[in-house]
Symmetry: C3
Subunit: 526 residues, 3 copies
């Protein structure tokens, strides 16, 4: 077996040497968290190129490149690195928008943010860079040009009530939402839509914690910014969170702004699907969802959502009754995506439970509805016994210093600390930058218990999906036990041999790991 | 690193002490399997509160609560336990319905059972508790009130042939299925439907093992009750099994009872999806399913299912030809969800194979059909070579006492034994309460070989889904080898060091694990 | 604990003895790779029965059978082996078609190949074996018989433009594509379709690497044959690859040959879904796909795909603009399913990027489109930092001989070598016949980075699917670290104890593993 280049141990030994060397090659290496970071002041200011790399990784890629006969260079060159890109650099996004709120300095955004938080980030000056179009225009004039430029949106607008209003109503033209001056165009937020759609705006803004109204500012700007990940990734989170809070066209997509569209489950499914929010999948697996899938496109969606007009309920049928845009009114006990234990059938929540039974009563007997909701209660509570069984094991391991790695051996979390991720109040629950056994335990709670709750709440327990998640939890529990057993066997053996195991350095550093915000924060002294 | 509370070793040392202490605090702690369990006699009798907890877990939660500053109490309080519910109790369902059959005493049901096995469990006295409605009513009178009470079912009934019969037929009113006396209402089973729909009833009841007719009583009451899990979980299994056997509205949902609805794949997909029965997914991935997805809602589903009326087959097209309700007539060799090895193309099954080719012949040449079915045969047989390769490794580990944990170190199975789960005849195959390597091996057979068979049978092998499962099996095989290697390395090391590894106690006991029926059975001396 | 039969160690000790014994029992045991393999000359020649088994496995199954009281025999007997088929043989397919190309001798096909590569494999003599129909027929005569024989295809043909041509066009009858002589029937390929549909044929054939035109011959015949797996499995790959290249009815399914059908995403989804090509899923998760799902079946699909006619784009809308059948014209930088690193927004690719922005411009502003494509660029590049972080760890392990097993301890790869699967140029990247840590690393690149790229490219990053994959990559990274840590701990312990760990023999041999083509090639001296 040939030595490929240098081994991992050597790599970590030479790491400090390179840290020093690199200070002089700033054009290539920018260490995360310099003492004097250059903050971008305006949306279009170029950042100093901000590669998050640590020198050790550069070294690795240089060696790799030599071995593979590949070039080394910034990966915006357009070169195709066939060897999995091993030999290329990642220099980070060229321009980032400044964050806002208390974590603004720590967290910055990709330019796409301007579409999702337009009131703050959208700069009309930069809307049409290079555009020679100046002056003011009437809606008719807009339509003339844009029929050629963007025929889709004109067609959609014509299909909408804005473009083809009902008898006696006026056209809502392009200028009403975007302004007349082509150099000072507006991207509308809920505020502008609310000028005409008052009731809907009021409902939207009244939503309590857990509703769309708090999806972006509360979750992402105030809390999500604490996430450890770089902007390139959190942008994906941001898209749903920001559009849900800031724009009405998340559900009534432009430029049809259709009520019928928003009534369909697919409208909600864009965001409410996947791990942590399996609502769409659970609904689609239920009798309700299956009947919708089988015939929903033949229904008249212009009709209000109620038991007389629709053979099965949809998302909005239950959660936005009579068009109520405050979804928390037809919600259930809020527990951060269903991850806290609560008996939703407790007497304290009688009003909420009765309201749900009343919703089901359109087609089902109240007792039938209560029996099903009760089965949901018990399933959720039982699922916590598995989680607690796992937590007992993992917490004991933590207590005995047997988790590999222990928190201190990981990159610091977004608060700059190294605390146990599973103990509330002592750290942030998270999916990454944790040990394998912590990840499994996190998933057991957030992904799996959440899925069980949502499966039962949406009647997917007729289907094997609920069964799948119940099984998944069994599997996770036994994997946690299996991992715990291995960790304890290692410890017993090593103790007998006088080996003091310390976590390997790759847990703490690496090309990606070195980009976590915790590192930045540490350097910034926060 | 601080000691959080007490470590796992201490926990298990103090366990016996608490077992004794707890006998005196029965109001909080009910040990699973007392010598004199109080069996519920009638559906609505309250059980003695039956928390399945063991005292050690209580202790854990008390400590946890102190640490977290959370309250301790029954989790039907309505309190939200933000700390993942660590500090709360699970006291079990308040009322359970008695089981029936030979495992009735061991196994009890959540109240929702009454809707799925109504002939046995539905008690009309309790149908409208608190209802002041007494007396007898005509169908017209039912409709008058229930139009206000449950507009959906009245609308659906009017859309049905029962509510709007064809020329010359009479209305089938509410009373025909539910009776006239509001205090003695009936929930219909197949028997009642069969009074008019004789042919369908006959077909349904004639179904052989593996058909709907045996889904509940054979599988769940006689066998499924042997499952180790508590009622809160098996209720999810039960919903599909019971409705498939006992009620016709599993496919022709109330109150439309539509033939058109039942012809659609979505009707079958409610149950036939997910691990162990991926039929819906496999069909949807095939050319047949994709064409259905693309245009199925524009077809006239009132027409009989045949090659002249439909461009692609659906589930019922092949499996319920000419409306035959005995699905075993258009089935294939029954092998318990496809988990046994059999060559379905063997001469012995010529009649079945010819019948399938004849079904395909509506649109395909017989040779084309045979080539595809042959490819299915080979794929299934090959997939067993991977399973056998894994079994060789795992059985050898078992033989050498190297599996961690060995069966004796787990909770007893539902028969009260501790036997190797993978050896037929010596134990029950199962997904939970097993070691990691047994779980992987189980999945390789039941989940993955089953998926390969169903993918090929439904022509999903045009699609990468079959590919996925083939790949999944490779992955499982290498994970099994990897796990085996680790177990053997541990054993060799420990032998050299004179360490005798015994499985850690968390495999045998835990808040959830202590609820397995095997524990109950042991105490009951059965 | 009883000894079940014999343990794994014994099994591997007696293996060589059986290798010798078996040479004399060729009727049962055919060792992979005899010195003088009998190559099949014609499509229907029977092969010598080619069980790939090694004698040791036979022995295992004999023992197993005795223990279980099951019979031993070829598994085409039709017997049902309830014990998971443990006691049965797998004797391999009875007939295989000879391969072609430079790996033809190594690789053979299941008979189903004749439908997917008909120009080469379809033998009209064998089309209707047993058929007594001889002579020449007109299209009208064909229809007469086949209305009874295969009513579906006749109905479909009548619905097509071939069967019911527009005013002034002639019927395209059965004989035009299949010939007149019932003993010399033809199965059409693109060549025959192209006689009328010249433009489409030209486009199809002009497709560059990565297009349908190269899906079969380049990928499967020239390269795929290097795959290690037996024909029973690669047949599943082949179906999509061959039909995409050789036949037009992959998208315009027979016998409707509908343009409307091919315009729908479901047409593409038959192949473009699942790991390695999640295009269908990603599209369906986007706003575009959700709107399509919600209302697509109500649209008029006979209209050309453009922004005036469709409210959202479909696959063909973007990738086959104006019916262009050379999909590489509306593709992006080709990097083998997105698995190589390249900045698709680099100046070098300005023309391609501008063309994409122009496509989006039907409904979106160019800046909006660019911002989203830029977010895709950054996400893809960032995802490679995780892969490189993993590669650093795994390559160091390889360098230190710590991977378990090392390549030399696995079955030889398809080139007959035992090289590290993750180092390009030194071996083939692959999913099977590798160590656990190599598999995880492979998936991180091919399955996960590919999924991230496709999620972003299809705007699924509005949805949590992109989020899921980003999370998946975090999970894979920590699993790789966890595995690396265990391997290093084992090594340190074993070194101290003077144990020299060598990979267990089950990595190299087993009932399935012994079928890999690498073994065959070795024996054939290639």
């Amino acid at each position: 077996m040939n030595k490929l280049y240098f081994n991992a141990k050597q790599f970590f030994f030479i790491l400090p040497v390179f840290v020093i060397l690199t200070i002089s090659i700033r054009s290539f290496a920018y260490e995360y968290g310099s003492a004097n970071p250059q903050v971008i002041e305006t949306p279009f200011a170029k950042t100093t190129a901000t590669p998050h790399r640590i020198p050790g990784n550069m070294r690795f890629r240089h060696e790799m490149a030599e071995l593979l006969g590949e070039k080394v260079g910034p990966d915006d060159s357009g070169d195709v690195y066939n060897a999995g890109g091993l030999a290329s650099y990642y220099t980070g996004p060229k321009e980032l928008f400044p964050g806002k709120g208390k974590f603004g300095q720590l967290y910055r955004f990709l330019p796409v943010i301007r579409w999702y938080d337009p009131a703050y980030y959208f700069n009309p000056q930069n809307f049409h860079p290079g555009s020679t179009v100046t002056g003011e225009f009437t809606s008719e004039q807009c339509v003339t040009c844009h029929t050629a430029e963007n025929p889709g949106i004109v067609t959609q607008w014509r299909q909408s009530k804005h473009g083809t209003p009902p008898e006696g109503k006026e056209i809502v033209g392009c200028d009403r939402c975007h302004g007349k001056n082509h150099e000072k165009l507006i991207m509308p937020t809920y505020t502008l839509c609310g000028e005409c759609h008052e009731k809907q705006l009021k409902g939207h803004r009244e939503g309590e914690r857990g509703s769309h109204a708090h999806a972006y500012h509360l979750e992402l700007i105030d809390q999500g910014c604490q996430m450890e990940k770089p902007a390139e990734e959190t942008t994906a989170c941001l898209a749903c969170h920001a559009i849900a809070e800031n724009r009405c066209d998340g559900c009534h997509t432009r430029h049809r702004f259709s009520v019928a569209e928003a009534r369909k489950p697919t409208s909600c499914g864009v965001c409410h699907s996947g791990p942590e929010q399996y609502e769409f999948e659970m609904y689609m697996q239920s009798y309700h969802g299956m009947i919708y899938q089988g015939e929903g496109q033949t229904w008249d969606w212009t009709k209000p959502l109620n038991a007389k007009n629709y053979v099965v309920p949809t998302c909005a049928y239950c959660h936005m009754q009579d068009g109520e845009h405050n979804v928390t009114k037809s919600s259930t006990v809020y527990t951060y995506m269903g991850t806290s234990l609560v008996d939703r059938g407790a007497y304290r929540y009688k009003a909420t439970r009765d309201a749900w039974v009343n919703t089901c009563k359109g087609c089902h007997s109240p007792r039938f509805a209560r029996d099903h909701l009760h089965a949901m209660d018990e399933a959720v509570k039982l699922s916590f016994t598995k989680y607690r069984e796992a937590m007992l094991i993992v917490t004991a391991l933590y207590n005995d210093n047997l988790i590999d790695p222990m928190p201190i051996d990981l990159a610091p979390d977004s608060r700059g600390h190294n605390v146990f991720s599973l103990m509330p109040g002592k750290g942030e629950m998270r999916k990454y930058n944790v040990s394998n056994i912590e990840r499994l335990t996190y998933e057991m709670l957030v992904d799996i218990i959440g899925a069980i709750f949502k499966a039962k709440a949406h009647n997917a327990y007729y289907s094997p999906i609920y069964g799948y998640w119940e099984w998944a939890q069994d599997r996770w529990l036994l994997q946690i036990k299996d991992e715990a057993s291995k960790l304890k066997r290692f410890a017993e053996i090593e103790e007998k041999l006088g080996i003091k195991h310390t976590a390997y350095p790759f847990w703490k550093h690496g090309e990606y790991t070195d980009m976590f915000l915790g590192w930045k924060r540490k350097e910034w002294g926060k």
